[in-house]
Amino acid sequence: MTEKKFGDYIINVDNICKTFPNGVKALCNFSTNIRRAEVVVVIGPSGSGKSTFLRCLNGLEEIDSGSIIFDGIPLDDDKNNRLKIRREMGMVFQSFNLFPHMTVLENVTLAQQLVRKSSASVAKSVSMELLEKVGIEDKVASYPAQLSGGQQQRVAIARALALKPKVMLFDEATSALDPEMIGEVLDVMKTLANEGMTMICVTHELGFAREVSDWVIFMDEGRIIEGGTAEHFFSDPKEERTKGFLNQIL
């Protein structure tokens, strides 16, 4: 892999805790920093808090304590700050969550027009470009229900990219897909990574992690157990729990 040039830190997560109303401690004293253009892969057993971490980053969940600073903006009680941060982060979900009552094209143009106030024609040309990039250009007039899972997820990625986000969050983007469709989505993600997009990916695709990630985080019970470059992480994990988990899924 060619050496990438990383910028300054774009996300600072300092000592955050998240306890759900039912008493589940999803995140405890969780800290990490993410640099521009870095691709971070988060792995860990189910229920370890991976999704909660991503959801706290873009304000889908509120943190109890600690701080998150995104590109100089603190994610605090200020509604405007929260809105600003959400608009700079794209998120891709396990279950696609496309808007079923809108065509593929409308799915991608909507936020540009509502959030960025782009004109219809500008929004459309940006969308077409993105849909071409993810290989859906011939399906723009279809409704999500008419697409395969892999196609839907690629539209969802285009939709998230439409606001030109500074960071992309992927929460098990390929977990709901049939095996033969995983590759097409991972390819899009790899392209993004190579273009220098800052990405945080929760995934079980270790091949993807090895190939494109700059940093791998292993989480368990709401904590970071171990982090390292893909090389070190997979060949020489330090912690027993990491070894156990890797043995399990390899």
Partner: protein, 293 residues
């Protein structure tokens, strides 16, 4: 499962039984009932020829039918507005709004409609609308605009009571629509909220572009069912002397005693309004099923 389209033995048996019941009913009416049939006096209550002005005019039942249509039409619109607003309030994160909408719905659902009609009518009519002086104001209109007003709402002199009855009906039915809308909003997948949140949409934009369009698609059948109820329930405002179809029927019945003929016509007139709605519901439901496949 596909529905069978041909008759089975059971269908024939049930059918002939129903036919027998009908025949017996007709026989009882013919033989047992001592009743003065006067079908020929009925048409004048629908349309009659006014000799003085040399033109056809609507009879008593027909004018009642018009009033029922006016009440139903505006009632459906207003009740939908009330129901959508308070349905959204019920799903709000603001406790006070939820509490307000719940109070509204529970009050309406736990009181007999007649009680609501009397309370709301006297409160809305006497306290809110009467001081506005709508009727006096309408009297000052040109005859042409008074005519339009009479077609769309009611004649000057009847406006206050018409609006009071309309509001009462809409408030009452709006409570049921509230529950339909609430259930519809809550049935939308959580992922829709999350995806639109992640795109940076505001709450209003989420509602307007993502949640409500899907909700409306989904609640169309129960809404149409509620509209049918509203058309039928519009008859309760006859107790406050709104001259809609049922009120006119009662008036005619007491003055002519042609009970069966009059209520047959009234029945047909209600069916003329509700049956198309029912058919529409059926169409919508099949379309919805098709689009979900």
């Amino acid at each position: 499962m596909r529905k069978k389209r041909f008759l089975t033995l059971t269908d024939l048996l049930v059918g002939s039984f129903l036919l027998l019941v009908c025949l017996f009913f007709v026989y009882r009416v013919k033989v047992g009932l001592n009743y003065n049939w006067a079908w020929d006096s009925i048409p004048q209550f629908i349309f009659r020829f006014d000799k003085e002005n040399n033109e056809w005019v609507s009879g008593i039942l027909m004018t009642g039918f018009y009033t029922t249509i006016r009440l139903s039409f505006w009632g459906i619109i207003l009740a939908t507005v009330f129901g959508v607003i308070s349905g959204i309030a019920k799903t709000s994160s603001i406790l006070f709004l939820r509490w307000l909408a719940t109070t509204y719905v529970e009050t309406m659902r736990n009181l007999p409609p007649l009680v609501i009609i009397f309370i709301a009518y006297f409160f809305v009519g006497d306290q809110l609308l009467a001081p506005l002086g709508i009727d006096d104001w309408a009297e000052t209109f040109s005859p042409a605009s008074q005519n339009i007003l009479a077609i769309v709402f009611a004649k000057p002199g009847y406006l206050t009571s018409f609006f009071a009855a309309l509001m009462t009906l809409a408030i009452f039915e709006g409570a049921y629509i509230t529950e339909i809308v609430r259930a519809g909003i809550e049935s939308i997948d959580k992922g829709q909220w999350e995806a639109s949140h992640a795109l940076g949409l505001t709450w209003y934009q989420q509602m307007r572009h993502i949640i409500l369009p899907q909700t409306f698609q989904r609640i169309m059948p129960p809404m149409a069912g509620q509209f049918i109820s509203l058309i039928k329930d519009s008859s309760i405002v006859s107790v406050i002397s709104i001259q809609e179809l049922c009120f006119q029927g009662i008036e005619l019945m007491t003055s002519t005693l042609h009970t069966i003929e009059i209520w047959t016509v009234v029945t047909l007139m209600y069916l003329a309004l509700t049956l198309p709605c029912s058919l529409l519901v059926e169409r919508l439901e099949t379309r919805l099923n098709l689009s979900l496949r």
